[in-house]
Subunit: 234 residues, 2 copies
């Protein structure tokens, strides 16, 4: 079903996406906002981790979240309770966010005022992998309930991620989770990837995750912001 | 990113897929093989349910399985132990099976000898929904660990399914599964859909699932097979 014409159209789409993503990345860097995208299967726990993350950061940082779903604004409503600025992106039948959706959703935002921006992608282990969103760090979540072979079966999305977060670690015993098998699968497709283990329910691993975010943002921050640059997006 | 040209190409692809799927469906009916496709998120338990299903049917029926993954033949290897005839379809970067992949994978198969054929799609709640594979029944699996709102957030895949199977029901208490919320979500997007609850680990619900398969096949079977028809595929 993969005809030459489709390949050609797809390549054009990705090329256009990369251009927009590059421009977004430059804007994010100039504004001093650290941008983290989250990808995973449906139900791996992206929204729950983001709720806890945004709430924990709220006292110290200004946080924004863009959240992608095919339908409903349920996740945006959940995330708004954390105090973050939240914008839902509804993709209809499209199985991933793209850079243009991010740019459009950020119209009217003052990026200069943000410290962190999180991009929660559509729950999907395939489609989001090819689309650069201008993020500084991409985190792939995999829950202990999904099976230890997921990196081997969906290599591209793990290969394009910077951090792997194992979620729902509180269920590890209940599902007979084999830690070593998942670690070996990570190493096979993305050697050396940073791995975090979390449970949003018990709080295990959340400090380590929050410290990682702080450290990443601190190490990326320019010494001085460019004073006169136009920081608006769109 | 959804340009008119992409929409046009996509419509042509789907039209072509529908033609091939219609031809497949006719062949399946003529051969008297009952075809069931399974769709779900990654890790919802399609392969495990199919292992148990194929093993349970093995004494009474001849079973075939086509199993789709982006990479690896791990699932095919797991399924072969059940005694079923198994063919892996490796899709590369494509996030779903299509009818042409099914047709190609069945080249050289004697469909007449099969009673059941299962099509395990790529783990994805978005892409597979638009692609008719010629199946008689489509089953969407959702595990209790994924969150009760999945039908609302991925309505198309639930709307195109005939049966919803709730998997990993043995974990319901551990994850605080809210049965009524999921039932309400099913009703909202696909009123009246048949719902089964299963645990491949404990065996709960497997009899009901196997009875459903037998009943569906019996009610679809023609009184007499056409004697002279060419049953080969491809």
């Amino acid at each position: 079903m993969k005809t030459p014409r489709i390949v050609e159209v797809r390549q054009n789409v990705l090329r256009k996406n990369d251009e927009i993503a590059r421009a977004l990345r430059q804007r994010f860097e100039e504004a001093g906002v650290y941008v983290v995208s989250l990808v995973s299967s449906p139900g791996a726990g992206k929204t729950t981790i983001l709720e806890k993350t945004a709430s924990a950061l709220a006292g110290r940082h200004c946080v924004g979240v863009l959240v992608g779903d095919l339908a409903t604004d349920r996740d945006a409503k959940r995330l708004e309770r954390s105090g973050a600025r939240v914008q839902q992106i509804t993709t209809g039948t499209v199985c991933h966010l793209d850079a243009e959706m991010v740019r459009t959703a950020l119209e009217g935002w003052d990026l200069d005022a943000l410290d962190f921006l999180f991009l929660e992608n559509v729950g999907n282990l395939v489609c989001p992998s090819s689309y650069d969103l201008g993020e500084a760090t991409r985190v792939v979540l995999v829950s202990v309930t999904e099976g230890e072979d997921k990196p081997l079966k969906y290599p591209t999305i793990f290969n394009t991620a910077d951090i792997a977060m194992i979620t729902k670690i509180d269920l590890a015993d209940a599902v007979g989770f084999r830690h070593d098998d998942l670690a070996a699968a990570f190493e096979a497709v993305r050697p050396g990837i940073a791995v975090l283990e979390t449970s949003a329910r018990t709080g295990v691993g959340m400090d380590s995750w929050l410290n990682t975010l702080e450290r990443l943002r601190a190490s990326s921050r320019p010494i001085a912001k460019p004073e006169a640059a136009d920081q608006s997006i769109g």
